[in-house]
């Protein structure tokens, strides 16, 4: 039974250029009805109570309004019990002092702020509708509200950016004295406005060399500032790794609630329908909202576990791997392991198989070797 619960709030006041998540403007929907449907879905889903981790993501959860969100979260907590880690994502554009205080009161103990950049021109380019000052203010408000587990999301390799811009963003993020930082190279997701302008030749991605430099810079700078690099894009102060997200990379079960949310339960990977109206309709008719349900074979599980584990800096715990998958990793990936060890892209230490430092920027070229047996 899943110990982690993800709840998707499919609303956002304005869609950012690069965003590939499913979200719609809240004013076009009967938000209450949608949130009620999510509560109904949660009610009939099985998971271990109290949930160990609870993660509210979006969209922008706060875009539905403080009252609606707080009412919703209270109902959620009634169902899940008090989670050890209870995260809510915050878009600075939708955040104020009140919101953070209220979240704290409901029992939220971790917030993840979608800051993205401390360079105004980059925020503007990405379609983020707030100022750098608003980020500072949001962090301040969170701290004042009593949050001592704050995460920041950052994006690098924004077109037009350079290394000194990125250093500036990192400096400000470090100064903000938060516990967790996720740093993502900007990706061009299919069917996003950003990807379309890039295909049309109107926007040029930063070149590979700079992208790599920026990635190496964040690894170095955050290490200096006392953050532990624990996943390809994630960094945490000691004791503050995101436990919810670790569920994904350790390939453990999780429950996803809401339109477009994904679950992994009992070796089934399930994805809810990406359509708010249909989602509500299904739930109201007491049907499940799955649009896709895939049974994961033992071999696929072995692949997925390897790929996901390797995203962690600690890599694959080979003993645990054997126990979990009941498969001998060398039997299916022996050639790939040997090849990548020879190329010094993988390393074997203390019965753990992990990416080397130089493999990090080209991790997919190694991970793909584990996507299916040799």
């Amino acid at each position: 039974m899943p110990k982690s619960v993800y709840i998707h709030i499919p609303f956002c006041k304005s869609k950012c250029l690069y965003c590939g998540f499913y979200s719609k403007p809240p004013n076009q929907y009967d938000v209450k009805k949608v949130l009620n449907a999510e509560i109904a879905e949660l009610k009939k889903s099985s998971f271990s109570k109290p949930a160990q981790t609870l993660y509210i993501g979006g969209g922008s959860p706060a875009s539905v309004g403080i009252d609606s969100l707080c009412e919703f979260l209270s109902k959620v907590v009634e169902l899940t019990g008090k989670a050890d880690e209870f995260t809510v994502e915050i878009n600075p554009a939708d955040a104020d002092e009140n919101l953070l205080v209220n979240l704290k009161n409901i029992g939220v103990n971790r917030i993840s702020i979608g800051a993205q950049s401390f360079i105004q021109s980059e925020l503007d380019f990405l379609g983020r509708k707030y100022s750098v000052e608003k980020i500072d203010q949001t962090i301040k408000n969170a701290k004042q509200a009593g949050f001592n587990n704050i995460g920041l999301d950052l994006i690098f390799a924004v077109p037009g950016s350079n290394l000194s811009n990125w250093r500036q963003t990192l400096k400000k993020a470090i100064q903000a004295d938060v516990q967790h930082i996720s740093a993502y190279s900007l990706s061009y997701e299919k069917n996003t406005p950003l990807e379309k302008t890039k295909s049309a030749g109107k926007v040029k991605a930063v070149d590979e060399e700079l992208d790599r430099k920026m990635y190496e810079t964040v690894i170095k700078e955050l290490a200096k500032a006392g953050f532990e690099h624990y996943e390809i894009s994630n960094f945490a102060k000691p004791g503050f790794k995101c436990r919810h997200n670790l569920t994904y990379w350790k390939n453990e079960y999780y429950l996803g609630i809401g339109p477009a949310a994904a679950s992994y339960i009992g070796d089934w990977r399930i994805e809810n329908i990406s359509d708010i109206e249909k989602y509500v309709e299904y739930i109201e008719q007491n049907e499940n909202a799955a649009a896709e349900k895939i049974k994961i074979s033992p071999l696929e599980k072995a692949s997925q576990t390897a790929v996901l584990n390797l995203r962690l800096i600690e890599g694959i715990d080979l003993k645990e791997y054997q126990q979990k998958t009941d498969l001998d990793i060398y039997k299916f990936f022996g050639k790939s392991i040997e090849k990548n060890l020879n190329l010094k892209l993988l390393q074997l230490k203390d019965n753990r198989l992990s990416l080397t430092k130089q493999a990090m920027p080209i991790a997919d070229s190694v991970l793909c070797d584990f996507a299916q047996p040799d």
């Binding site: 996803g256 896709e292 920027p361 080209i362 997919d364 190694v366 996507a371």
Partner: protein, 598 residues
């Protein structure tokens, strides 16, 4: 039938000049095929022949026609028109007394018209010149008749003007075949002699020999002897092609037909061999044919989803129907187990490759084609090699010889300049230039086969707006200043990429090969040095830069399924390539190196 009422003839033409259409028309007019059963290119039975509109295998058909109350038997032997199939053309001619030389009224005399006409003259055939497609708006039958007279020495007034498509002039032509072409020469020797001029393999009946009876008679039940191989068989069936196989009771002197005699595989017979009767054998065999000469060689390795045994079975099956290509097992350190194959020419190679893949549902990795070289060792030993890897140590080589051909090109005169440039680049030496009409010339070159074997024809078409045509004929081996270029990928020699070239162009070619390879090999996790070397000396370098960034930034719960698919594809892409050391080389890289274009 009285031998005086038999006519054996073939149709020869440049590709696309309407040979098969004319054959179709004759079949219709003689009532051999009725309108209802008719389909285009009746005589081309392979899919590939119909699709490409070319004839690959020779075939034979018997037609009956009554003129002035006398019934005649007309045996038409269809021949391929492409330069690669000279061998089959000359084979067919040996079974004929006459030839229809078909020339397109809008295109005029082309290189293969000339080559085929010369072959016909050499075979002592009576030639009827035929100008086809006279109903086309661009037809210039008068100009074409002049060309025929000028270049082939045939009286322009003897030309028949026809349209095989509409049927215009066909009746006159048909009657001319009877009145103008001679009947078979009567060989008065009593012993039976039959020339095997072609064969094909039938799954149920075994080998079917196409024969022309020179003397005597064949009957079912006869014990026959193959004079060349000294094997004997018993005739189980005789027949004619009409154009389907039709059983008959007996084949007489001068006639053309087929013999089935429980022969298991094509390799049991030799095309050009003489069939005689075991109980009363002929004293001397017919002159026969030279063995086909494979001039172009290429390695075939099993590709994806194909294994070696599968590939071997496919080659064996194909060789049942085409005795003119060879295949021998080959082991490449880089590519593993495969076959070294020899072909008559490039089109022949292409056709075999296509038939392999199409008829057997297999995939092959093919290396760039090369020609045969002749090695003279310091010990005096002389032998031929068909792969650069067979070249002995440098110190052992006294001489290295390469094959030369007589190359004939017919082209509009305003393209002469371009053709001269191309021929210089390809080490061709101009022997002579003949004006075949005020606007067109025939140029003859001595050319190294290696230079024209690969993309010469494409380039020729390009620089002549598609007008130039060519034909070539092997003339012999000549000493050349030849060197072997080795290609090193990530510091290791990849044998399948080695190449023998003339020293004068070795450096330029080496550089070009590396540029092509750099484009064909995808970037890896590390930098890959590419080097071209001659005898250990590096003559060119390139490198494939490592990719620097390839990592998915976000991978959370909702991304797993989609991302796994992407990674799976990435791995499959790697698998499709040949692994050489830690470098993955895609299949097209092995072919791309010979592409000399920029």
């Amino acid at each position: 039938m009285d031998i005086a009422n038999i006519r054996n003839f073939c149709i020869i033409a440049h590709i696309d000049h309407g040979k098969s259409t004319l054959a179709d028309r004759l079949l219709l007019l003689t009532g051999t095929v009725n309108q209802r059963d008719f389909k285009e290119q009746m005589l081309d039975t392979m899919d590939i022949e119909r699709e490409r509109g070319i004839t690959v295998k020779a075939s034979a058909v018997t037609m009956l026609y009554t003129l002035n109350g006398v019934e005649y038997m007309l045996n038409l032997i269809d021949t391929p028109g492409h330069v690669d199939f000279h061998y089959e053309v000359s084979r067919s001619m040996a079974a004929c007394e006459g030839a229809l030389l078909v020339v397109d009224a809008s295109q005029g005399v082309e290189a293969q018209t000339v080559a085929n006409a010369y072959l016909a003259v050499d075979s002592d055939l009576e030639i009827i010149p035929v100008i086809n497609k006279i109903d086309l708006p661009a037809a210039q039958p008068k100009v074409v008749a002049e060309e025929i007279e000028h270049i082939l020495g045939i009286n322009k007034n003897e030309c028949f003007h026809i349209s095989a498509k509409s049927g215009q002039g066909i009746l006159e032509l048909l009657e001319a075949i009877i009145t103008f072409l001679p009947p078979p020469v009567v060989d008065l020797t009593k012993q039976t002699k039959a020339l095997i001029f072609d064969s094909h393999y039938d799954e149920y009946r075994g080998v079917i020999c196409y024969v022309r009876l020179i003397s005597g008679r064949l009957n079912p039940g006869d014990k026959i002897l193959m004079m060349g191989s000294n094997r004997s068989y018993q005739v189980s069936e005789l027949g004619k092609f009409t154009p389907g196989m039709k059983k008959i009771d007996s084949l007489g002197a001068g006639e053309v037909g087929y013999v089935i005699a429980n022969i298991r595989t094509l390799s049991d017979i030799t095309i050009g061999d003489t069939i005689t009767l075991a109980k009363e054998p002929a004293k001397k065999a017919l002159p026969g044919y030279k063995k086909p000469l494979q001039m172009v060689f290429s390695d075939f390795y099993p590709g994806n989803n194909t294994d070696y045994t599968h590939l071997r079975a496919a080659f064996e099956k194909l060789s049942l129907n085409d005795a003119s290509f060879t295949f021998v097992p080959q082991n490449s350190p880089a590519l593993g187990f495969g076959f070294r194959c020899g072909f008559l020419g490039l089109l022949h190679m292409e056709i075999i490759q296509e038939r392999l893949e199409r008829e057997n549902d297999i995939e092959v990795v093919q290396t760039a084609p090369t020609v045969t070289y002749e090695v003279v060792e310091t010990s005096g030993e002389t032998y031929r090699i068909d792969s650069p890897s067979q070249l002995p140590e440098k110190t052992k080589i006294a001489e290295l010889r390469e094959p030369f051909v007589k190359l004939e090109i017919i082209t509009p005169k305003d393209t002469i300049g371009n053709i001269m440039k191309l021929s210089e680049m390809k080490r061709c030496q101009l022997i002579r230039t003949d004006y075949i009409s005020p606007t067109r010339v025939m140029m003859e070159f001595r050319a190294p086969l290696a230079e024209i074997v690969y993309d010469f024809y494409d380039q020729l078409k390009g620089i002549s707006r598609g007008y130039a045509t060519m034909d070539y004929e092997f003339i012999g081996f000549e000493v050349g200043d030849l060197v072997k270029i080795d290609i090193l990928v990530n510091k290791a020699i990849v044998d399948a990429l080695s190449l023998i070239v003339h020293r004068s162009i070795a450096e330029a070619r080496g550089r070009k090969m590396l540029v092509k390879l750099r484009k064909a090999i995808p970037r890896h996790q590390f930098e890959i040095p590419l080097q071209a070397a001659i005898g250990g000396k590096i003559i060119a370098r390139e490198s494939i830069k490592a990719f620097r960034k390839d990592v998915t930034a976000k991978l959370y719960g909702g991304d797993v399924t989609r991302k796994m698919k992407v990674l799976k594809r990435q791995k499959e892409g790697k698998k499709r390539m040949k692994s050489i050391g830690s470098v993955q080389i895609p299949q097209q890289a092995f072919m791309s190196i010979l592409d000399t274009s920029d």
